[in-house]
């Protein structure tokens, strides 16, 4: 989707189990939900 929008050089950082210990943990585990971070650039 990022590339489809015209962005490039996609880099993905760490994933975090951000819902661990929260009330949303059960739903998050059901779908293996994570907090992700990524970067990309617009062509110069």
């Amino acid at each position: 989707m990022v590339r489809t929008a015209g962005l490039e050089n996609l880099r993905v950082g760490c994933m975090i189990d951000v819902f661990s210990g929260s009330a949303h943990e059960s739903d998050a585990k059901d779908f293996d939900t994570r907090g992700i971070v990524f970067a990309a650039e617009k062509r110069p």
């Binding site: 760490c14 819902f19 990309a40 110069p44």
Partner: protein, 202 residues
């Protein structure tokens, strides 16, 4: 993935998101289905010396899902857009990084979050940041106007994600970059879960 527009009632989804995040802004200690505040910032590996230098009310309504600054620090003088800026935690950190020659625009559709973000900016004494009303799918900024787009836990709440990324591409200057934190699900979602607004808003 070819379908980018989720099968939900868009207006109802936005209304529910606003209600949820109104509570996060005005009553952050209430307890939510997701983490908020200082414990969350620590979990996401924000530098706690920087976080603890902020007044507690600047941090208490933070509701991100990762750390967009982990993909690279912002440079002095850069112009930054924060999509779904909430109570302004990331925007204010960005404003500190870009300094007085830089500028940060936070866009958020929840009035109580924008009000709190403006109050937080005043509390910290930062004049290089503003908070405006808007939707991620229709950003209130000109073409090619920002160096960096950041966002933290907001795009997953948008029903048309491709429209969001097209808007990001539109507002970025050539050579500009995005640093986005968001939620991913690594198992297929059944149709009833995709259509369940309670699951969208947590």
């Amino acid at each position: 993935m070819t379908e980018t527009f989720a099968p939900v009632d868009v207006e109802r989804l936005r209304s529910e998101v606003k209600l949820k995040y109104r509570d996060v802004a005005t009553n952050p200690e209430r307890g939510f289905h997701f983490h908020v505040g200082r414990p969350l910032a620590e979990m996401l590996d924000y530098p706690m010396d920087v976080v603890d230098a902020l007044p507690p009310r600047v941090v208490e309504s933070f509701a991100g899902v990762n750390n967009p600054f982990s993909m690279g620090e912002l440079r002095p003088g850069e112009s930054v857009l924060d999509i779904g800026s909430g109570a302004g935690f990331d925007s204010l950190l960005a404003a500190q990084m870009v300094g007085p020659e830089g500028h940060v625009t936070g866009v958020d559709m929840t009035p109580e979050m924008r009000d709190k973000a403006r109050a937080n900016a005043s509390l910290v004494g930062l004049g290089n940041v503003e908070f405006v009303d808007g939707l991620a799918e229709n950003l209130p900024l000109p073409d090619a106007s920002v160096d960096v787009v950041i966002s933290n836990g907001a795009i997953n709440l948008c029903p048309d994600k491709l429209a969001v990324y097209r808007e990001i591409a539109r507002v970025l200057k050539p050579g500009g970059r995005l640093q986005i934190a968001d939620v991913v699900v690594q198992k297929p979602l059944p149709d009833d879960a995709v259509a369940d607004i309670d699951l969208w808003t947590g």
